[in-house]
Amino acid sequence: MFFDQLGARPTAEAAAERRDRDAFDTYCDYLLVIDLDRSDEAPFVAGTNRLLHRSVAETNTGFCSAGEFDRGALLAKPGEVAELGRPCVHSDCRSGAVMQLLWRGIAEYLKIYDIAFMFGCSSLHGTDPDALMLALSYLHYFQLAPRDFRARAADHRRIAVDRIPLTRLDQTAARAMLPPLIKGYLRVGAFVGNGAVIDFGFNTTDVCIIVPTGRITGKYHRYYKPCGTP
């Protein structure tokens, strides 16, 4: 999906295998949404994302977002945290049900592992800051994380995100520009870090999303029971 639909540039190995994988995959947990009706011997994966614990990251590859964002303030907090990455929903399954199910799975996962908050890069499609400035400025003015949760784009890659003055910002138009995934994060109470970075390899402009766990679990556990419970 990243390569065929979003214009990311695959490595030669990824292109040959038609698989997106990286060094972090070995150390991540994956959530899978499986459509049983479309599965045979192999599961039909309708959606997925991956999660990486701090305790695992620190003893192995580190976090995937380290090259893009300074998360010093976040990581100074005690307790377990998780990085959420590579969210993906099959192009045939974008009615919202799969994304809802992923959120429920994430909520359960955070509860099981007693994770205080999660974070991760989230992408706007394209690498032209001018074209994305309305959305980036909106996120900066209205969704910026509190200082003690505020990740910051790495200085050497940082682009300004406040070039449209607040007084001239069309909020409705800005919200309409946001990708569904970022809208979903905001609906569960996410913040964004300070600044953005361009990822030419993935043809995206990335912001850092931070979600305190309580904001997710409170929302999704109201509607959710694990399998096997009466």
Partner: protein, 48 residues
């Protein structure tokens, strides 16, 4: 079952690791659960 990286399945709670049951099943035959095999990781990577 495959031990995925450092996250050995025995670290996971019984509700997941013993039965490999999904967290949730919805109508429309959708379920969500943690990955269990290298083949499932490959399937996720192909979707990505």
């Amino acid at each position: 079952m495959t031990n995925i990286g450092n996250l050995a399945l025995d670290r996971r709670p019984a509700v997941i690791s013993e039965t490999a049951r999904p967290f949730v099943v919805l109508t429309r035959s959708l379920e969500i659960r943690l990955v269990e095999t290298e083949a499932e990781i490959a399937a996720a990577q192909r979707l990505r």
